[in-house]
Symmetry: C2
Subunit: 441 residues, 2 copies
């Protein structure tokens, strides 16, 4: 089941992942209390080693500085890489937050008595081994590590070269805390450092159950195309806001400015605004002024350019592009149906919002628009695991299977069916001598 590009795993990566898989089995056998103890011990250790973490982080930042100065690396990357004493305290606090969540492995989803002495239980269980490939931000190591331990999963981490020193110290903390609890747990979280190892990881569909790529759209799409392992992530976030005929225009303006300008690089920032023709003449000039004041460059359809002549013409490519920048494309639409059709055609099924005081229009939009998150009278920027109250976020998924939208702990568990019998064979049921009871308990 290899797709062509995945490289055969080298002895080393294969051996490391096999060790992680074995340690994951030991981890899954621990009680929920024991898994929480590991988390609390790691949080204490992170705080105790704050100076080590900060020193390592400084070395990483120093090493990156010349590349930032020469323009080879974006300022934004350097900013994401840098942590602080407060940042380290926050890492520890987030690990403690995960310890407080209910045990995801203790769930019985259903119990059915198939027949006398033949009981079927559907129970939660870990996925197995998860691989997370990420860039710069070193807080991924404690954050994803705590989710993996909480859910009883092995974890293969591949961090960016730029954060190598910081990642090593944070990974060493996990390793020590795990080994101190039991030697068999030591390898439950492993850290890969070489870029070449990514292709090897993507080819290990028998040993890795889920890949979470965190990075650029290009990188995420590359992973989707080059692995037979299920992928949790999102390629792009082409989010729309539709301003309905019955929108409260005073309310609408700040929502759109927030959705675009509050943090334009985020995947949940708005990229396209669709405006009902009944309010376009009045709203568009006001909106354009507010956006331009926030530094946003506007492109638009023919009709919108007739209303605000200063807007440059939008091309077909504009509708398909996630700018991640202070740019926005606007279109005047005939009605709600045209807005829904536009989103069906161009949306990336991430987050879509309608602004209206007409409840039935809002409910139609929420029901019919095919996206992970559908909003009424709110900024698209709310689509986020922390804002949704999940405690910790694995990523945002635009897949409709398994885990959708912002994904918390539940994205890292599966279920299995346990059937407890007393010697039953299928024959008497197949021959009609016995019938199933199928009694739900």
């Amino acid at each position: 089941m290899h797709k062509p590009l995945a490289a055969p795993p080298s002895e080393t990566v294969q051996a490391q992942v096999a060790k992680t898989r074995r340690a994951a089995r030991a981890l899954a056998r621990l009680s929920g209390d024991d898994r929480n103890r590991l988390l609390l011990a790691a949080a204490d250790e992170i705080e105790a080693r704050s100076a080590d973490i900060l020193a390592a982080n400084q070395r990483d930042c120093d090493a990156l500085a010349p590349q930032v100065a020469s323009g080879k690396v974006a300022q934004a990357m350097a900013k994401r890489l840098k942590t602080s004493a407060a940042g380290v305290r926050e890492m520890a606090a987030h690990v403690r937050d995960v310890a407080k969540l209910a045990d995801p492995l203790a769930q019985v989803f259903s119990t059915t008595e198939l027949d006398d002495g033949l009981i079927l239980e559907k129970v939660s269980c870990p996925l197995g081994v998860i691989a997370v490939i990420f860039e710069s931000r070193p807080d991924v190591v404690p954050q994803v590590g705590s989710l993996a331990i909480k859910t009883g999963n092995g974890l293969v981490l591949k961090g960016g070269t730029e954060a190598r020193q910081t990642n090593r110290v944070l990974h060493a903390i996990w390793r020590e805390v795990l080994a101190r609890h039991a030697a068999a747990l030591a390898d439950a979280i492993c850290l890969l450092e070489e870029r070449a190892e990514i292709m090897q990881v993507l080819g290990m569909e028998r040993d890795i159950d889920l890949v979470v790529p965190r990075g650029s759209t290009e990188f995420v799409n590359f992973v989707f195309q080059n692995s037979c392992i299920p992928v949790l992530g999102h390629g792009s976030g082409i989010c729309h806001i539709y301003v309905d005929a019955s929108a409260d225009l005073e309310k609408s303006k700040p929502i759109i400015v927030d959705a675009k300008a509050q943090y334009p690089a985020a995947c949940n920032s708005v990229e396209k605004v669709l405006i009902h023709e009944a309010v376009a003449d009045r709203f568009l000039p006001e909106l354009a002024a507010a956006l331009q004041q926030a530094g946003v460059e506007i492109r638009g359809c023919e009709r919108s350019r007739r209303i605000v002549p200063g807007i440059s013409a939008a091309t077909e490519e504009d509708w398909q592009t996630e700018y991640c920048d202070l740019k926005l494309t606007v279109r005047v639409v005939r009605d709600l149906d045209e807005a829904i059709d536009h989103i069906e055609r161009y949306g990336s099924r991430h987050t879509e919002s309608i602004l209206t005081e007409d409840t039935s229009a809002a409910e139609r939009f929420l029901d019919e628009v095919d996206a992970a998150s559908v909003f009424h009278n709110a900024s698209t920027r709310f689509a986020d695991g922390y804002r949704y109250g999940f405690g910790a976020e694995v990523g945002i998924s635009t897949s409709k299977l398994h885990a959708r939208g912002p994904v918390g702990m539940e994205g890292l568990i599966s279920y299995k069916y346990k059937l407890r019998g007393s010697g039953q064979t299928v024959s008497p049921y197949a021959e009609g001598k016995r019938t199933f009871k199928h009694k739900k308990r």
Copy 2:
């Protein structure tokens, strides 16, 4: 996001799937009662047109007869193709059963008050459009059709050439019942007939949300390798039974014979038996005699061949092979750990069973073996949607994401997050001026 082999969709298939996608949106807008009315109307129509269905089926069987006679096509395929008056009544009955199930689209999984007037709801929704590729058995058309309508999904069916006439009549019934309810629904279920169209379907990841391949292991693996669309299915079923030191041997023998011989072609039939060394000397000769009486050919490891000299030697390939036939491989193992390790290495994560009177050994096996279905003292043949009480089965999934094991209606739904606000922007939360309440309702 194309993998290389998927062909670009032809105008015709693309146009058909687009119509199905549009009709699916109309279907998802119907109330649960209306969707049930469609099902009951179809069930009545199936019964009313029994003679048409049987005549078409006879034409299919006649057309296949020469190929069966010449040995080009297996007898088993001819048998699966053939239906009867009772078979048609059963098709109608199964459609009515689906109508009785609770509405899967009416589920609210959680409601969270993020802040005053900002309410987040996690609700069920259809996947969109599902493609099911199947062979011979024409009862797939009413069965999967009823699940698609119940779950508000569009359905693209591609049946085998050998069942073309029967499939056409059954598909015409869906089409008429849908069109009679509303013209916009007519295309919600479409039927493709050309083999070449399969490759086109596999390349349409924007318009098809899930592919369900039902057929040979080779075909299912081909689909897994050649589509970026999520696949629900299972490649092979290499199921094990482990006979523990504390097994009740009298109980164990009929379970193993049932699991192997009751229907050896099924994916949930047992392929390998692992026997604890403490009971091997006593149990293996008895088991071999019982299996040989049922016509089963046995292969085995060195130790088992010393106990029962008539057994032929098992090769490495045997452990990796799903026979789907009256063949079985046996191995003597040192203990429960060796059995679990063997299953971890060779199992296809479908269904695994332990036979023992030792509850703690049973619980360890159920917890630690990584498979969709894990059984204690029961035949592996129980792993089946009907036997689990799901009413109707889409397929059996060995994936751990989304849907696992026998998959009923819930495998065809996803969820979305609906956020209802009153003009909120992210800025005040990002700037620390407001904090989230995250109050679960």
